[in-house]
């Protein structure tokens, strides 16, 4: 499998035969503020979508945001943190194959689903002190 691995901060342009995605690493907590000053509250749109999942945490802080592309018929993989990465491939029927990898590169989850540009796919798990980590995936094009 060929991975077109890109790790780019900020916006990137996609060719006509490429699909553009954005992933965010988010910290979910009921604390009012993150101990890290540069962590900002997520945008309203993401806040609303996360709230709709009925999670018990009320506050979501963006830890990192990465944009990446996936060429048609190939996977685009991006490292979210030293402990996880995500790959996305657009399938023939326009559905996405999304694979979530753990820190040893092991497959933690594999989803095949449609994802419209106004939708979001969220992977999550427990973190210390009864908080949680979330990785959101949005399709930009």
């Amino acid at each position: 499998m060929v991975f077109a691995s890109l790790l780019v901060a900020g916006t990137i342009s996609a060719r006509a035969d490429e699909f553009k995605f954005e992933a965010q690493l988010i910290w979910a907590t009921n604390d009012q503020k993150s101990p890290e000053e540069k962590h900002k509250a997520v945008e309203a749109e993401i806040q609303k979508k996360l709230e709709s999942l009925g999670l018990k945490w009320k506050n979501f802080f963006e830890v990192k945001r990465v944009a990446f592309t996936a060429p048609k018929g190939e996977s685009g993989k991006v490292v979210i943190s030293e402990k996880c990465s995500i790959s996305v491939k657009v399938l023939e029927d326009k559905k996405l194959e999304v694979i979530f990898y753990g820190k040893k590169g092991e497959v933690c989850s594999r989803q095949i689903q449609p994802l419209k540009t106004d939708e979001v796919l969220v992977h999550g798990g427990n973190a210390a002190n009864e908080t949680a980590w979330l990785v959101t995936l949005k399709r930009l094009k």
Partner: protein
């Protein structure tokens, strides 16, 4: 009033007193106001409890509740189907109290394909350490990975800006 008499009074109320002992209790009730008061109290308590459970309702949606049962009964009966169900309690721990979901349409998909014609297909093809559910109103899908709080998958740390 002696304990055995009190218990006979209770049995009398419950229709459990042998017929031969009823006259004794009836005589007691006729002459002892305390006995009558105690009987009334026991009767009132029973009345108060009637209908209590009628107001207890499951807050989980029909589909959500059924999906876990269906999964369990679809498996071959071997070792631990019950263990699967207890993961539901774990899932509920990450969610707000279920009552908050009353107005939200959520489909819980546990490695089962959607029926044909539903317009969407969500498939988790891994070994079920992940739970997936989708909110059709907002278009948000959650894949929750069953890891302990120490979490060795993706804890934001100082290198990434946050040490958890």
């Amino acid at each position: 009033m002696k304990e055995d008499l009190q218990l006979k009074l209770q049995a009398y109320l419950d229709g459990e007193l042998p017929a031969t002992e009823c006259p004794e209790v009836e005589a007691l009730l006729a002459q002892d106001a305390n006995a009558r008061a105690l009987l009334a109290e026991l009767r009132n308590t029973s009345s108060a409890l009637k209908g209590y459970e009628a107001d207890l309702k499951l807050s989980e949606s029909r589909d959500f509740y059924w999906s876990k049962i269906r999964r369990a009964i679809s498996q071959p009966v071997t070792g631990e189907p019950v263990g699967r169900l207890s993961l539901g309690a774990w899932l509920r721990r990450i969610l707000v109290p279920a009552g908050a979901f009353a107005a939200i349409t959520i489909a819980v998909l546990l490695a089962l394909p959607q029926p044909k014609g539903s317009g969407a297909s969500f498939t988790d093809v891994t070994d079920s350490v992940a739970f997936t559910y989708h909110n059709y109103d907002t278009g948000a899908t959650l894949v929750w990975l069953d890891y302990p709080a120490e979490n060795d998958v993706a804890t934001p740390n100082t290198d990434d800006t946050l040490d958890l």
